[in-house]
């Protein structure tokens, strides 16, 4: 299977291990990634907080480049990139004026002809059977709290993915790895997102609630699919009142463990919170 790849800034920066682990895992699962050459910023929070047109046009540029490479499917592992790309695609279909402007800049292209998928959708495509087939270690008894955050499952009208209020798709993927998904209350609550930069205390407070709830429900690990969530849940734990030391893993890292890839190869050593206790259980 060949899939277009839009890493976005996080995967080459703060979420390097996400990129690392994803490539290793997909290699084992026979998925080839074709990166969009000369990709640019999706606009992230800054663009859509300041200029609506800019926030739409920036992601569309990447779609136009993808189309030039004849890509039909595009993976955006970062939840924010995924959201910006899919919302922009929706926006230009709805707003012919913006579409015209985009076409003037990037040339006409079949903007609907490229389907944007998130990492969970990619694993759904690969299939649970394939994961089970390639599984080296059954993550038996590992209790995992799947955390979706805000962007992965919203807005439903546009993404049409899973369920905004009670998502369950990630649980199905990690059970293919042999782990036990737990039922908990904070899987779609806000982590504080980019408040982490200007108002650290808000992100600490919100993330702490998430960590606490996962811990209360017996989680050994929180599995995420968003670099922003990861950085808040992982990096901000030190500032929290309760010292829980909850490991926070990307979905790709978690699946990677079950495929028998070494922890350091997956980049687990790059996290703030040590995964040693978890790795003990894996053995």
């Amino acid at each position: 299977m060949k899939i277009g790849y839009y890493p976005g800034c996080s995967l080459s920066g703060t979420g390097r291990e996400y990129d690392l682990s994803l490539k290793k895992v997909l290699n084992l699962l026979d998925v080839e990634l074709e990166e969009i050459s000369d990709w640019s910023c999706c606009g992230a929070t800054s663009a859509h907080a300041t200029n609506h047109l800019l926030s739409t046009i920036l992601p569309v540029r990447n779609l136009a480049l993808g189309k030039k490479q004849n890509l039909t499917e595009l993976l955006a592992p970062c939840a924010a990139c995924y959201n910006r790309l899919i919302v922009s695609q929706y926006e230009i279909e709805k707003n012919p004026q913006v579409k015209k402007q985009a076409f003037e800049l990037f040339g006409e292209f079949d903007s609907k002809g490229i389907s944007i998928i998130n990492i969970i959708e990619l694993f759904q495509k690969i299939g649970k059977d394939k994961i089970i087939e390639k599984r080296e270690i059954e993550l038996k008894g590992i209790k995992a709290a799947c955390y979706y955050g805000c962007l992965l499952v919203r807005p439903f009208e546009i993404t049409g993915f899973d369920d905004s209020e009670q998502p369950h798709s990630m649980e199905e993927i990690i059970s293919a790895a042999g782990a036990v998904p737990i039922d908990w209350n904070y899987k779609i609550e806000c982590c504080g997102a980019s408040h982490s930069i200007a108002h650290k205390e808000i992100a600490v407070d919100l993330s702490e609630k998430i960590i606490n709830d996962a811990s209360k429900h017996g989680a050994d690990v929180i599995v995420v699919a968003c670099p922003m969530c990861h950085s808040n849940l992982d990096m901000r734990q030190k500032a929290m009142k309760k010292n829980i030391k909850m490991p926070v893993l990307y979905l790709s890292e978690f699946i990677g463990l079950s495929l028998g890839i070494g922890a350091n190869e997956l980049g687990l050593n790059l996290h703030f919170i040590s995964s040693d206790l978890l790795l003990e259980k894996v053995k």
Binding site: D163, S164, E165, Q166, N185, D213, K216
Partner: protein, 665 residues
Amino acid sequence: MRIGVFICHCGENIGRTVDCPEVSRAAGKFPGVAVSIDYKYMCSDPGQNLIKNAIKEKNLDAVVVGSCSPHMHEKTFRKACSDAGLNQYLCEIANLREQCSWVHEDIPMATAKAIDLVRIAVEKVKRDAPLITIKVPVTKRALVIGGGISGIQSALDIANAGFEVVLVEKEPSIGGHMSQLSETFPTLDCSQCILTPRMVEVYQHPKIKLLTYSEVEKVEGFIGNFKVTIRKKARSIDETKCTGCGDCAQKCPIKKKAFSEFDEGLINRPAIYVPFPQAVPNIPVIDRTACTYYQTGKCQLCKKVCGREAISFDQEDILLTENVGSIIVATGYTLYTIDKKPEESPIKGYGEYGYGKYKDVIAGLQFERIASASGPTSGEILRPSDKTVPKKVVFIQCVGSRDESKGFSYCSKICCMYTAKHAMLYKHKVHDGEAYVFYMDIRSGGKMYDEFVRRAIEEDHVKYIRGRVSRIYEENGKYIVKGEDTLSGMPVTIDADLVVLATAMTAQHDSSKLAQKIGIPYDKYGFYNEVHPKLRPVEVSTAGVFLAGACQSPKDIPESVAMASAAACKSLVLFGSDFLEREPTVAKVNESVCAGCFYCRKVCAYNAIEIKEIKDRQGKLIKTVAYVNSGLCQGCGTCNAVCPSKSVELIGFNDEEIYAEINAL
């Protein structure tokens, strides 16, 4: 021919843009016109007398009135003609107001058009045949579908007026949702205490034929003459033998395993059961999906214990036919459930409230059962999960209602009132408890209604928070309710012991099926549509069918009862005469030309085309032709338009008449 033309000025309505004397002069010169007069108000008494006198004095044999739309005064002028001895269908209206003076400004042009319109009418009236109104006999008997408070009220009103009523209820007992309620707003009187006397009255009434556990299967016929097929579902009990002693239910080994519809699933019931102690009739029914005998072939304990030998396992559904003149539809409502529903349903469920997975997050009707003396807790407020007294209860209004993302944009109308009532009942029973209400707006219009809500707030200290609840989850046996107080702009978190949702009132899930059987239009939510929202609120477009209660839109008890009496009254108006007069302008088939292709049957919106067999004297079938049931035909002319052999004609609008009108232009 001797035709009279009468041009009305309609005050200034026509006269301002149409030169009426000129129209009258021009019409006087048309061939066949014997007299032509104009007058300021032709519909007035002196105006009508002008027509009457002209008919008598000039011996007229047809009349054309140039006036307002026939929708307004055709009846008036036809009556004037028939009073003067002329067949009323020899009177034609030329619409000089809505289709001429009101839509034009230029006087000479409008006048020329008016002259054309009158000429058209004159040419038509020359070819008109005298017609006689169709008389249809009326069966003075009503069918009421639904045995809730609305159906009960309609049935009693009609029966007390001396006419027979067939009351059909799909559940084993009549009473509907009202029988489930604890107290009623705004007086807090016990619901069953005011309802059960009426249920008994229905049962004892000599004019009411009560068919419970029955459903309408098929409706044929038309106003005054409906033929209704009713499926009487197998109760598995011989109703003539059963005394309602209840021994069978006592012995049923299923005991409390089957879902209790009456108690909204809060407790369970046996497989053989009477829904509630005051049920009418007090005859049990066997739920075959739960019964051990029907599932495994063994048991029959109820049969052994029944002293009257009333248990009849091999009983089958019976189809009954009833002839009635009118139908009152009072099928009520059902509540929105927050569970996730299949994709095809418009109901989306509430993931944010856990899709119904929390035992102590309940719907309004469940709280009614908990608060009711006849309920599973005998009226003590205990939460379902652990049967403890909840010390903090959160009531959430508008769950589903006014929420487009859940598929419903309408207001359920009764929730503001019943939530105030719930909070009040709770506070009256749990004095140290705290009650919170999350609301969007408080809509308490009605006699003593707003006072009632104020009482909950001021006297019973119910805490009202204006805002929505975004999430409910369980934590240490408490339900964490997260919402927003939009008045202070602050987030609110309440650790509640019990959460009561005022879920939307929705149409019965199968409301469209019944609507299609009877021919009732319905809206996108499945509520039945009345003909006119203001002036004809209980009638539907199918003549002889009336609506009562919440099947039309969400309603409380007083409104449902008022509507039920109105529907009964409309039925009684119908029963006031022995015959119904119908317009003779219906379709008619020329059987000698009809090829029996039945295109007309396919396009007829009123199911008025029947198949008729033409036989020779030996009884041998020669051919089948279309036949118009003049009772059902609405005279729309669709069959006339599609008939390839031109063998359908619309009486009063036949081809010759229409061509003459066109040629007159």
